[in-house]
Amino acid sequence: MHPFSYTRVSDTGEALDAGHRGGRYIAGGTTLVDLMRETVERPEVLVDISGLPLDEVTVTERGGLRIGALVTMAEAAAHPKVRTLYPIISQALELSASAQLRNMATIGGNVMQRTRCTYFRDVTADCNKRASGSGCAAREGFNRTHAILGASDHCVATHPSDVAVAFAALDARVRLTGPDGERQVPFADFLLRPGNTPQREQSLRKGELITAVEIPAHPRPLTSGYLKVRDRQSYEFALTSAAIALHIRGGVIREAKVAAGGVGTVPWKLPAVERHLVGERPSAPLWAAAAERAAVGARPLKHNRFKVELLKRTVERQLRIVGGTK
């Protein structure tokens, strides 16, 4: 681990000052400390933001939900409002990491976590995300867990978060504060596809800080759920996953929110699946036909071709579970 200086801040202004001077924010630290030990991350200054008042879950005026950036994964998952209004978020969180890590890691940090690509984590390997212009060892390497959607010639790494998939499905917004004031960014625009600049992963400006993730109100009743498929039953990242929320009234699907994880360079929205569902009545053939559209545009690599079919089956199965038709 490279040496770093450490500063603890007690209010947002102080944090932004330190951040603007190039300090690196640390919250739960579960990704950052791990990667610092591997020398993948080499911050010179750590700014400890864990004392900031960003640790509340609140219901917004319009009936949405605001989860403070410093709410831990465990607290968010267990929160009565989260469990009542958006159980899919609790589900995605509790299927992530381990109980220990969920006690440490925060919602803001979860969104900011970096890829699990083994070549990114290995400083002796070529990786454009870690060392711009060095190449991508994963593209022709062992890429079984890598992305089939949203990749570029420069990077094929997936975003590892589960809850971010639920956030993407639910059209969440990321609330930010920075030197130029506060702003909100739709979740879909916050995390960036690699393109020609895989080292740039979020649409954050210098010194900006996530203050909360906000989920807008959705029409009720809303049935939802998160399905995660992985190599072992627990404590493992997704090979594929599906976050699905359906608003069904009068026997007709009025709204469908569908996103997939483990397959994209960012949490992957599935608008083609959503469009196929809206206005239709739940049925087994509908689920199958909609899921057939889940892998539109997929470009598998040598070792992850299986993900194309697995993704379709994951979406179909979760549609059946959430939609309630056998």
């Binding site: 681990m1 490279h2 040496p3 770093f4 200086s5 450490y6 603890r8 640390i26 630290g29 579960t30 400390v33 791990d34 610092m36 030990r37 750590l46 400890d48 864990s50 465990a74 990491a97 381990s98 109980a99 220990q100 890590l101 006690n103 440490m104 039953q233 627990s234 404590y235």
Partner: protein, 168 residues
């Protein structure tokens, strides 16, 4: 006391900071190299070698301790961040000569072979019981999945946690 990080030190003294925390009820004030993990602080400087270093990456759970009552991976916790924190390690669970009920249950159930993961399993089990995730063997398995046992003593570990939770 100045505490090193266990890392190769670059040219010049590495930045360090003072921190005051409580470990197993005993107040401690130390100056730590900022890079020092809680695990290294416990093992290398406080002589509390019960918490084990398995993966040193948050993947195995052998280093599990309680910080302010919550189970965490001490290998991913920077000691410098623990100002005012209360840390409980495996050494702090027993009440004098009286073992913690979960420690006794691990012996009664023969819930270990080599023993390397056991301190982490027991501290994690204490957290799991406190959190109330002991309703069934399946639930215990899921909520204890952050603790790996290479000897494969899972069946008996689950039994020890379940019996201790049931006695509460």
């Amino acid at each position: 006391m100045l505490v090193g990080s266990g890392d190769a030190v670059a040219a010049g003294p590495a930045p360090s900071s003072p921190v005051s925390l409580t470990v197993n009820g005993r107040p401690r004030t130390v100056t730590v190299d900022n890079r020092t993990s809680l695990l290294d602080l416990l093992r290398e400087h406080f002589g509390l070698t019960g918490s084990k270093k398995g993966c040193n990456a948050g993947a195995c759970g052998a280093c599990t301790v309680l910080v302010d009552g919550r189970r965490v991976n001490s290998c991913l916790t920077l000691a410098v961040r623990l100002e005012g924190a209360e840390v409980t390690t495996i050494e702090g669970l027993a009440d004098g000569d009286q073992l913690h009920p979960l420690q006794q249950a691990f012996i009664d159930e023969d819930a270990f072979q080599c023993g390397y993961c056991t301190p982490g399993q027991i501290v994690s089990g204490v957290g799991c019981i406190r959190e109330g995730h002991t309703g069934s063997p399946e639930e215990i398995r899921e909520w204890m999945s952050g603790n790996i046992c290479r000897c494969g003593c899972y069946v008996k570990i689950v039994r020890a946690v379940q019996q201790t939770a049931g006695r509460k």
